[in-house]
Assembly symmetry: C2
Homo-oligomer: 455 residues x 2
């Protein structure tokens, strides 16, 4: 090698190393600032305590939109706006009551129930048939099912370390159970809550819209503990009657909003990096982990750029999506508008798996892009975020995939997630400040790298 060539190689190595060091230093600034002076925890408290049951279409959700908009305004970003979106409007109503007797002479057992999101109201009573799958249901035959209440009682698999995998393995009972049971002639549906282990909280969640071809029948969730009890009682008396009363109902679709803020890029403003979570939440508690955590983390990531005086090359856009829980209208609308405007969204990142200690990121990307993203792991290992893998791309950002956008999820530890998911337990107090902040700093750091080096 000629001396001059050697010099070039050495110089390039030096520059590359210096760049890594300066990136590491910047990432440390994000984490240090967030862990010492972060605001996302206080923001989560405001959101949860002020606008807890912010289900799409509700006045509380409208309040949460205003809160979000004003909060973004207070941070003085370049561009802050609400994006109109029509959302479904389902209301739980005040009455949710279920009772049964173990035998004709037993005392009345009261069971805590919650309507599944989308269920009609009802006042029914009927015998119960327990099944653990649609196949078993079908095998019973229409004659046997007719007029009965079908009790879907297949537990989430406790042995699955991937709790979202366990969820996927059971959730069709909730999402499709009412339609399947109605097709067989049932009068109602009880679903074992999507939760791991045994606890006393019913967990709600979306069910599919009723299909027109079958009658609408009501569907409720009971806690995993009550599911065990009901199953045991049924084994002793298969004729026991279950009475269910709920006053849930559908109202007309309502105007709501995605809430959006951004810092304009100074070099490639037309290249957009989107990151967000969903602002709406089920009406059982405060939507702290699902997904208050996600929206305040993403807002915080943008705020950190501002606070640390970092001008991005590309446009950084934080989106609070509306209606992830029961319609996904916000995510669809956002992608539709982006397409109309011919926007170039290079990356979309979602945080919607709870505000727990972040373990890494997952990527819906391929080839060199995927390699480069996974290679960023080295920057995150000092923060115990070393699980970088292919996969994912959350609900709200998924419609952007068609536009060539790389999708990415923040992946926290999720062992506790299904203790809180869609239940009365999902309150601000169930979120740990440091764990939440680590996620916010992690998002800011990842966006920093992608903004700096592109994709």
């Amino acid at each position: 090698m000629k001396l001059s060539n050697l010099f070039i190689v050495l110089f390039c190595t030096f520059v590359a190393k210096a760049q890594v060091n300066s990136d590491s230093a910047m990432i440390k600034r994000f984490f240090d600032r967030e862990l010492s002076k972060g605001q996302c925890y206080d923001n989560l408290k405001e959101l949860c305590k002020g606008y807890g049951k912010r289900l799409s279409g509700s006045p509380i959700a409208a309040g949460a939109v205003e809160w979000s908009y004003n909060k973004m305004k207070s941070y003085g970003f370049d561009n802050i706006y609400k994006q109109e979106v029509m959302v479904p409007h389902w209301v739980r109503g005040v009455k949710e009551k279920a009772t049964y007797r173990k035998s004709d002479t037993s005392k009345v057992e009261r069971v805590a129930v919650c309507a599944l999101g989308g269920s009609i109201g009802c006042k029914i009573e009927g015998a119960v048939i327990e099944v653990n799958s649609f196949e078993v249901l079908k095998a019973l035959g229409k004659e046997k099912v007719k007029g009965k209440i079908i009790f879907f009682n297949r537990p989430m698999d406790d042995t699955n370390i991937n709790t979202f995998g366990a969820y996927s393995g059971a959730v069709n009972q909730r999402s499709r159970g009412a339609n399947e049971a109605s097709f067989m002639g049932a009068s109602g549906v009880i679903v074992r809550s999507m939760s791991l282990g045994l606890n006393r909280f019913p967990h709600t969640g979306a069910m599919m819209r009723y299909t027109d071809s079958v009658p609408k029948i009501p569907a409720c969730a009971i806690s995993t503990m009550d599911a065990e009890k009901l199953s045991s009682d049924l084994s002793k008396n298969s004729k026991l009657k279950f009475a269910l009363e709920m006053s849930s109902e559908w109202l007309p679709d309502t105007l709501s909003h995605n809430v959006i803020c951004e810092i304009k890029g100074i070099e490639f403003p037309q290249e957009i990096i989107v990151f967000g979570g969903h602002l709406d939440a089920w009406d059982m508690a405060e939507g702290a982990h699902d997904d208050g955590a996600g929206v305040v983390q993403c807002l915080e990531a943008l705020r950190l750029f501002k606070e640390l005086g970092i001008r991005p090359k590309r446009t950084l856009r934080c989106v609070f999506f509306m209606n992830e829980e029961n319609g996904m209208k916000g995510g669809l609308k956002y992608a539709e508008e982006a397409k109309k405007k011919n926007e170039k969204t290079i990356l979309a990142l979602e945080s919607d798996e709870g505000g727990f200690t972040p373990r890494g990121f997952s990527f819906d990307a391929s080839g060199d892009t995927l390699k480069r993203l996974i290679n960023y792991k080295r920057f995150f290992e000092p923060y115990y975020m070393s699980d970088f893998h292919e996969g994912g791309g959350g609900t709200d950002i998924s419609p952007l995939k068609d536009q060539g956008t790389v999708l990415m999820d923040l992946n926290p530890d999720t062992q506790r997630y299904f203790d809180f998911h869609h239940a009365a337990t999902d309150v601000f107090q169930s979120v740990n400040k440091r764990e939440l902040e680590l996620g916010a700093a992690g998002i800011a750091s990842m966006i920093y790298l992608i903004d700096k080096y592109g994709l």
Copy 2:
């Protein structure tokens, strides 16, 4: 290569691969069984709710010893015994009260305090001097310090991702503060609690025994929130008087016990694998994370061997150490007895960092042994436990190091640990069932590999 040689290589590769597969399958059995039918969570509840404030020497600690012994008996292990150990016996007493006035005309402010473990009782009142280090204290000079109450207010470093590192950086104020302040002529000590961020709970913990050369002065902890408030009030009125009353006292040393159970090895019974945590706990709450979690996890690991019908080659011994918190007498006694009996303890594993999601193990080992241990990581990655590194060796097992024992710690996620550590918040409800169980299965799996392949 001759054909016969090629055959040998292929055969060996096949055997090695089959072995890895069978080990992976066995480890999966541990995790599956634990997550579906584990008993450690119920055991933790019994221990915490039945024997919460089990500080060394107390009747509650004696009850916890009996509970442990009977629990071990109920599992039918080969050998179950109590090992006598004399422990210090300090009692908090009923009165803990602190007040001050911002100014002579202000109303009385009441501050939640707790005596540091080992403090004398007192009824004192005095002016307060805030310092953040021993150097600052010394620089004040004896004249200024004389008769004053010294307020150690150096926070744990929130920006340290390693929360135990943050703890190490602040804990000398608690452990040595009283001695250092007494040397300078102070009348008492207030210590900012060892906790991250701001919360309203005072955290106790051991202080060094008083040195004979200086007068004994009382020492208490106040919450991080109250520390901020007191500091602010002092900045406005440096002359405010702080009144402290505590009725803690030392009683004579008391007979207590380590509690031990084992399964005898069938091939090398003289080689012993020890794993344990500490049974004693501070008297503020229930010692759930510190260290009820550790003892029930280790007991569970042994129980899993029994339940799955795995006969170990080596002797597996679970030890509930007594008196880790304020004397370490159990750990010392255990090592002393092992030495007397000339036991060959090949490995000692400790779980004493809280019952949170396990992230991996750390090893006090070197050379090929360290390499082999770190190489076991591949078996744990499916359970998200991939942080295998050199370091550690917990308090109770550390005296075994001199006997050539390899030391190992279970390392969980610790972002939440100092919310609970030594405070009223360390209750059973703060432990998540799955997170606890993952640790128990992880310990069982690691012991399985070490038993099978030796060290």
